[in-house]
């Protein structure tokens, strides 16, 4: 029997569908004869008591989740998300540099250093990528810190804001589509497949709608994993192979009949009734991987 700690923060229980998904993980573990326990920030020092750690709290090299991941990894525990995946996925500059190095199809991207924020460079970027462009801070998650800009003054305004935390940013070609593919991958294999629909009149999956205070998300349409087009499967798996062998959610867009990677996420969202719509066994598969 394997003792699995699931590292969570209070906010993981604020959405009922996420809470239900966490209970599904617990049930799946118990059904498979494993022990599954939620581990909160207060008890991080208890990690050595477990055999495996499954992180559901938001990961970033600067978050407590990284401390949890690296501690578990150093102690030889099985861990999702492992520290290397957090390091690569938590920094989009790192990730895009690797996608470029290994020639994975991706959205055209240019890196911008803090001291390059001048007219000539910005003009060159607009010439190369067209207008508008998408500015992305390396630490983006949940569609935040990703903004569209079509003129130099707003480009400068957004870039200055993002440069407060990171000395390098990514600028991408604006590629509007009706939906993003979200392919869940575990240990080099497809775990689930969804279409994250873009809300009407918007350009990203999570968007602030006029007149509403909170973020609104587009619909999630799931497909059975066997029905994923083979080229999509190939690109998604190639993208993950650049990062590691853990659990990822790859976002891809279909452009001119082919697929390009938007980004690879570690710690992908798994909400009951969304990602698990068609493949109900995703909970058991993740638990089996952790207890193997």
């Amino acid at each position: 029997m394997s003792k699995i700690a699931c590292f969570v923060e209070k906010y993981n229980f604020s959405d009922p569908t996420e809470q239900a998904a966490l209970q599904n993980f617990k049930q799946a573990a118990e059904k498979l004869g494993q022990e599954f326990q939620f581990l909160f920030r207060e008890d991080i020092s208890d990690i050595p008591k477990f055999d495996a750690v499954f992180i559901r709290a938001t990961t970033d090299p600067l978050n407590a989740a990284y401390v949890v991941s690296k501690t578990a990894w150093e102690l030889g525990l099985k861990v999702i998300d492992d520290p290397e995946s957090i390091t690569i996925c938590g920094n989009k500059i790192h990730q895009y540099a690797l996608l470029e190095k290994y020639n994975v199809p991706r959205i055209p991207t240019i890196f911008l250093n803090k001291d390059e924020l001048h007219h000539k460079k910005i003009k060159g970027i607009f010439e190369q990528l067209g207008k508008p462009v998408v500015l992305k801070a390396p630490y983006t998650s949940f569609s935040k810190y990703v903004e569209k800009t079509a003129c130099e003054s707003s480009f400068r305004e957004v870039a200055k804001r993002f440069f407060k935390k990171s000395d390098v940013l990514a600028v991408q070609k604006f590629t509007p589509t009706a939906f993003d593919w979200r392919i869940g991958v575990l240990n080099n294999d497809i775990l689930y497949a969804c279409k994250y629909m873009i809300p009407k009149g918007k350009w990203k999956h999570g968007a602030k709608l006029r007149g509403k205070a909170t973020f609104t998300w587009g619909r999630t349409v799931a497909l059975k994993r066997e029905t994923v087009p083979s080229r999509l499967r190939e690109v998604a798996l190639k993208a993950c192979s650049v990062v590691g062998k853990g659990l990822y959610g790859v976002d891809l867009k279909e452009v001119d009949g082919d697929f390009v990677v938007v980004e690879i996420n570690d710690n992908p969202s798994i909400y009951a009734g969304y990602e698990d719509q068609k493949d109900k066994d995703i909970y058991a598969r993740i638990i089996s991987y952790l207890s193997a």
Binding site: E42, A64, I93, A97, L98, K101, K114
Partner: protein, 237 residues
């Protein structure tokens, strides 16, 4: 060997500016000298760029991140034989008060605070310290027992300005384990022992002309060793 630095080093061979290196594809073993190896800052991106190019680089991205996360620093340091004290990572005042007691020394574990520490000799001081380092109890802290006196000094290539042998050993061993060429160390001194407590970047203003000379001398020594650049690449092997 390529030397990339944002500092005014006084060495014979050429030094490449970080911005020049980031825009290049120079494939050569890289020594990255920066006063501040902070995640998401230029010092980090230089090492990242070198790693993606396939260059051997000092320091590695993994070591940059781990050395600034106090609990990971202490865990890895202890495993490398460096004297450390037992620590707790938690956001619970009660847990520290009951399981560790007083006095205690606390370091932040959050994305915003990267320097300094606080000491607490009683529960109300602990509340105050956790409120400030945990940013209104929102984040965890790393607590260690306070057995002696906290001292802070600069460390260049594992050599430190302290006259104390135990502190010198910590500085040297820590450099062997993490390869951070320029940093500041927080050490706890008791009459007979010394324990590593934390590591943080140095502000550029804190570097004196003498410090820059010392770093330059070390860089020269390093360059002379040339291809013997030994890089620990633990994760990526």
């Amino acid at each position: 060997m390529l030397v990339v630095s944002n500092l005014d080093l006084t060495i014979d061979s050429s030094v490449v500016k970080p911005s020049t290196f980031l825009g290049s594809t120079i494939k050569e073993a890289t020594l990255n000298i920066n006063n501040e190896y902070r995640y998401l800052k230029t010092g980090y991106y230089v090492s990242l760029h070198a790693e993606v190019l396939g260059n051997k680089v000092i320091p590695s991205c993994e070591n940059i991140i781990d050395s600034s996360r106090t609990p990971v620093l202490l865990l890895r340091a202890a495993r490398a034989g460096i004297p450390t004290l037992p620590f707790l990572v938690t956001d619970s005042v009660k847990k520290i008060a009951t399981e560790m007691g007083f006095p205690a020394v606390l370091f932040a574990v959050n994305p915003f605070i990267y320097e300094g520490f606080k000491t607490a000799h009683n529960k109300s001081a602990l509340y105050r310290a956790m409120k400030s380092l945990g940013m209104n109890y929102k984040f965890a802290v790393c607590a260690q027992p306070l057995k002696g006196e906290m001292v802070t000094f600069k460390s260049f290539f594992g050599k430190c300005e302290s006259q104390d042998i135990a502190s010198q050993n910590i500085s040297r061993k820590l450099y062997e384990a993490f390869n951070i060429p320029v940093c500041k160390l927080h050490i706890q001194k008791t009459p007979d022992e010394a324990f590593l407590c934390g590591l943080e970047p140095i502000n550029k203003q804190e570097l004196t002309d003498q410090d820059l000379k010392t770093i330059s001398k070390e860089v020269m020594l390093f360059s002379e060793q040339g291809d013997t650049l030994v890089v620990q690449n633990r994760l990526f092997c």
